[in-house]
């Protein structure tokens, strides 16, 4: 078991999250893709902590889990708000802050 396997897994997970972020329109899938990218970074931190023999990386991963939780709370509240206003979870149909006229 070498660190390279973990590095490869973290890179693949980050890329899958990136692909989901740019190619889907469903707000929930966007949210879960962002979570997946953050989780892959926390996997990387835990691996580096074991490679360098220092517990700081694990502590950073632990703090990152807290950041993920707070991000989840705000993002889900935002999705509920947007769905209540517009009755859709299509990320392309929100024009509230757009400069052009609401032509959707």
């Amino acid at each position: 078991m070498t660190p390279n396997m973990f590095f490869l897994l973290a890179s693949i997970l980050f890329s899958i999250g990136l692909v989901g972020l740019v190619s889907r329109k469903n707000l929930f899938v966007l949210y879960m893709s962002i979570e997946l990218m953050l989780s892959s970074v926390s996997l990387l931190l835990a691996t580096l902590s074991k490679v360098l023999g220092d517990a700081s990386g694990s502590v950073m991963a632990l703090l990152m889990i807290g950041v993920i939780a707070s991000e989840a709370a705000v993002f889900l509240a935002m999705i509920v708000h947007l769905y209540r206003e517009n009755r859709t979870i299509d990320s392309e149909s929100f024009h509230a802050l757009s400069e052009r006229e609401n032509n959707a």
């Binding site: 980050f14 190619s23 879960m32 074991k50 700081s56 694990s58 991963a61 889990i65 769905y83 979870i89």
Partner: protein, 170 residues
């Protein structure tokens, strides 16, 4: 050898779960794929000898975040015409995968310049993490607690029904 096979199974679970997450049209199935990926991540943390991190991952990511997002998905209950129509979804996913692949290879190549062996150290249990967290990382810890509090307040404020709309209805 046993470790490698466990790692392979967990990695397959994670990659399969995340691919199922971005491919499925129904949001609930995406959430199930995400759940599988998060449980696999907890297993990999345990494989890295950081048991406390694995437990925290199970408790926070699986127990709180995934359950909260599933509850929201079931409450919103977008189906049929409320779901965004994505006629070219598969095409877009393949296209962006091709675009992202060089980035993945670059990331992996960069990371492999690090030493390719684990240091021999004791397991990172809660004692080590606790000592580190409350000596060197105490300021980020306090900032994180403020961040969690403000996120909670912000979530309540955002998700509250706006008064303007209520008045319009009545």
């Amino acid at each position: 050898m046993l470790e490698i096979s466990i790692f392979s199974i967990l990695a397959l679970f994670m990659i399969g779960g995340s691919i199922a997450m971005i491919i499925n049209r129904q949001t609930v199935f995406s959430a199930f794929g995400f759940l599988v990926a998060m449980i696999g991540l907890a297993g990999i943390f345990a494989l890295l000898n950081s048991q406390f991190l694995a437990i925290a991952q199970i408790m926070v990511s699986v127990g709180a975040v995934v359950v909260l997002s599933m509850l929201t998905i079931l409450t919103v209950n977008a189906n049929g015409k409320n779901l965004p129509d994505e006629p070219n979804k598969t095409k877009w996913i393949i296209f962006s995968s091709v675009l992202v692949t060089p980035f993945t290879i670059l990331l992996y190549k960069t990371l492999t310049t690090l030493p390719d062996h684990f240091s021999t150290m004791e397991t990172i249990n809660s004692k080590v993490i606790g000592k580190e967290l409350f000596s060197e990382w105490v300021l980020p810890f306090e900032i994180l607690s403020i961040l969690l509090l403000s996120a909670m307040v912000g979530a309540i404020v955002i998700a509250r029904k706006s008064k303007r709309k209520q008045r319009r209805k009545s």
